[in-house]
Amino acid sequence: MKYIDEYRDGRLAMDIARQIVATADLVRSYHFMEFCGGHTHAISRYGLEDLLPPNVRMIHGPGCPVCVLPIGRIDAAIALAMRPEVTLCTYGDLMRVPGSDGSNLLKAKAAGADIRMVYSTLDALRIAEAEPNRDVVFFAIGFETTTPPTALALKAAIAKGLGNFSIFCNHVLTPAAIQNILESPDVRKLGTIKIDGFIGPAHVSTVIGTEPYEFFAEEFQKPVVVAGFEPLDVIQAILMLVRQVNDGRHEVENQYIRAVTVFGNEKAQAEVANFFELRESFEWRGLGEVPYGALRLRPQYATYDAEKRFSMVTPAAKDNPACECGAILRGARNPADCKLFGTVCTPDTPMGSCMVSSEGACAAHWTYGRLREKARQADAGRAVA
């Protein structure tokens, strides 16, 4: 598969890893946050951490739109779906995200809610056209990548006069989240989390370009390398970050030049701007309220805005107090630190959203990381003995 296989060459990765070892300064440590779940997934899936020297460590960031959705938004979506007139369309990823009290959309569907899994906003539109008696709501989630398809669906619904289509908008914004992390007390003042640089999102950046990262690089003096999601992309990006740190640079570099430009996809940006506007504040699970961290429909499209159309209320979040997702999303803790990990919380019985999405740090650690953790512990045991 062109543009896939050639970026999955394990031998080349080994070679680059050797270069990282050679380049990294032995007397200092490097902590890089990969913002995106896609990078987390690649790191876990391909065992990239095993290739890195001990002084180069990756911190898994909050870049999974499923993981950052607050529990109250899931509860609100379930309440909406239970309305007899409503058909809720959603991406499959959301079906098992836990709401309050063990609820989720899969169980709501079993309890009678009309919930349809779709592959694309185009499918949701088709359903609204085919079933004019149903109130079809698209449960929209995602970062800047997934927002333009929602905008186009809304545009098409308006053009077709589909009065029975609306959107429950949960689109969130990457730069706001990164800024929030960098401004958090953990990172800024307490110093409990050391971040020496960021791997920037791959597909988000195809839309927004590299330009929006310039602000942090400058303001917080942190290097950013936008990278693709294939393992060679990631490991190359890590080498680029090590070099920037060594050089004392804090630039925005673009590893993913085959698909990302400085200004991104301006056509997509324009479509989004036509229909959406910033929310003053939006709760991200783990990060709390993020100023200007999300989008909502512009007021002129209120009839297409499910929150207004159905007077939706977002109940206060009631996260499981033992779940460490929040700290994990901010990079303050690791999945293995959570008391629930692997005991009560597994991919079959997720307690937190980090375990639901296969992009989530806990799920990635469950599927790919337990092994390495064991090996590491065994090594440590041997070292002690």
Binding site: I4, C36, V204
Partner: protein, 75 residues
């Protein structure tokens, strides 16, 4: 996040649609978000929409950089 794959455009269809292919599998997608989609070119596909075009020269350059990095810092 944001599962997306590089696919090749096989056919440009009316209404901003296109037939794309990957490894012998083809599918109809929307190209409404990108301009100047050409048969033979590659786009990044996400939830049924082409999000960006892939620049074959830049892809080649990336691979060259990776190979170069693997060999060691010539610089």
């Amino acid at each position: 996040m944001c599962l997306a794959i590089p696919v090749q455009v096989k056919e440009v269809l009316p209404d901003d649609m296109a037939k794309v292919t990957l490894g012998g599998v083809s599918k109809i997608i929307s190209t409404a978000l990108v301009d100047d989609v050409k048969v033979g070119g590659y786009v990044v596909l996400h939830v049924g929409y082409a999000l960006a075009k892939i620049d074959p020269e830049e892809a080649e350059r990336t691979l060259a950089l990776i190979r170069e990095a693997a060999i060691g810092d010539a610089a």
